[in-house]
Symmetry: C2
Subunit: 284 residues, 2 copies
């Protein structure tokens, strides 16, 4: 495998960052998880916009154009002869030895890591083997005033502690300090009640997921009513169906949440199909 | 310079970690900032105990004994001919490709980075040029339920955002979500009122600083009354004096906090002298 580090394609074994890089020392870095289908990145513009928002939230002032960054992603895919893949694109604040406070003259490090993934889509194999189990965890979602949810950063311990707390469950459901559902450790959560699709609104510390956004658009196009708002675990347990979204899973049904089991994911399956068809339209 | 990475001394320019190391990808790592005086690490046992607590909080199960880790620190000091230095010792969860949830079979990466520092102590030069200015920031300290303060981790964006928010001030003072003072971005805060030394108690999301602990012990030994509790910015502004502690600064007086200026740091200076004398006793 080849990865792309600081402007060059390097063998995966040599793909490293300095121990003085702030991305390593402090998690002072932002990232995007991308999916490539047929060699093309899905929803690049949306990811590039979010990466920019993450950089803005952290004050990382990098000079790499979106075209430059996309070029590195595609160079990595090409070097590994990957058509269907998961790609992690990171931008760190770089090495600024000697000061804890971020300096203005950042020299960011750009890292691209890629892994082959099943194709997904209408006829392809999924990236997950079965519907997910999910569990509410005691680990609380970091508040926006402490770590802004709008920024996808290398400070990911909140999610890691949550997933560890979830034990055997595939995904942890994190609440905010008022007990409201915010989402999974690495996914957005949706539930369906009386045919209406619900998902936590972005005024809560909720990751503004690209797949979340795509699914909401597709639902609207398909005439499926959608509401965003504030919900409790009880709302999820009382729902007819539950599903999770992220770039890797796309749309993944939930079969069990805490002590509740769900026997259907009709609306979720429909939106998963719409999503798969959208990919086919865009990538073939 | 030589750093110590994954068991070997390497030239600083070659001191790197894999881009797949979880310490880089997620800030999934713990660290200690150590001070060496005359070639010996100050309060190693206290630092080793805290490092263990940090690992426990994150479930990083490493097999390196404290003696092994101390050996790497001292090897780094010796390789660079450093007697008086700042040392950063990190333990990451290592590379666990393919799973977000931490696996049990961690292969941690140990990194030691060192920098020369002024000697400090009774007659030595300090590491800071002047008393500090400090400012209350809007960035809120991450709650214990989201990121446990007992763990010193590479998830340090909360402090970085706070320091950036503090503008020209040397240190940011972070409050919890109830408006209570928790401390600085990289320091513990103390204030003195009517001869009594106060500092936020550890039931709040407060870093259990080694220098904080040493200063509290020294104050007690010197018969200076000490109280820990919950305080507001107003308590700090109404105080007679204010000072900050951390491993690098030792005891640093505060000359200005928000709109308040302090004309004295008598008790702080006394404790700084006690601390310097303690170092002389231990390290000469």
């Amino acid at each position: 495998m080849y990865y792309h580090v600081d402007g060059e394609l390097v063998d995966a074994a040599d793909a490293t960052v300095s121990v003085r890089d702030r991305g390593f020392q402090y998690g002072d870095a932002v990232f995007e998880t991308l999916r490539a289908y047929g060699g093309q990145v899905f929803a690049w513009d949306a990811h590039a916009t979010r990466l920019r928002a993450s950089c803005d939230a952290l004050g990382i002032d990098h000079e790499h154009s979106e075209r430059d960054l996309r070029g590195r992603v595609h160079a990595t895919l090409a070097a590994n002869d990957l058509a269907d893949a998961s790609v992690r694109l990171s931008v760190t604040r770089g090495d600024q030895s000697g000061s804890f406070a971020p300096a203005d003259d950042a020299d960011p490090t750009v890292v691209v890591v890629a892994d082959a993934l099943p194709r997904g889509g209408v006829d392809g194999e999924r990236t997950w083997r079965s519907p997910a189990s999910a569990a509410t965890v005691a680990v609380e979602r970091a508040a926006d005033d402490a770590l802004p949810a709008v920024a996808k950063t290398h400070n990911y311990l909140n999610g890691i502690l949550a997933r560890a707390d979830a034990g055997d469950a595939d995904e942890a459901i994190l609440l905010d300090d008022d007990g409201r559902v915010t989402g999974g450790a690495t996914s957005n959560v949706f539930f369906v009640d009386d045919g209406v699709v619900h998902t936590p609104s972005l005024d809560l510390p909720v990751t503004p997921g690209i797949t979340r956004w795509a699914v909401l658009e597709l639902a609207e196009d398909a005439g499926v009513p959608v509401e965003t708002g504030h919900y409790t675990p009880r709302d999820l347990r009382d729902a007819d169906e539950l599903f999770l979204t992220n770039t890797t899973w796309e749309v993944r049904p939930v079969s069990a949440y805490d002590d509740t089991t769900y026997t259907t994911c009709k609306v979720g399956a429909r939106l998963a199909r719409e999503f798969a068809e959208e990919i086919e339209r865009r990538h073939y």
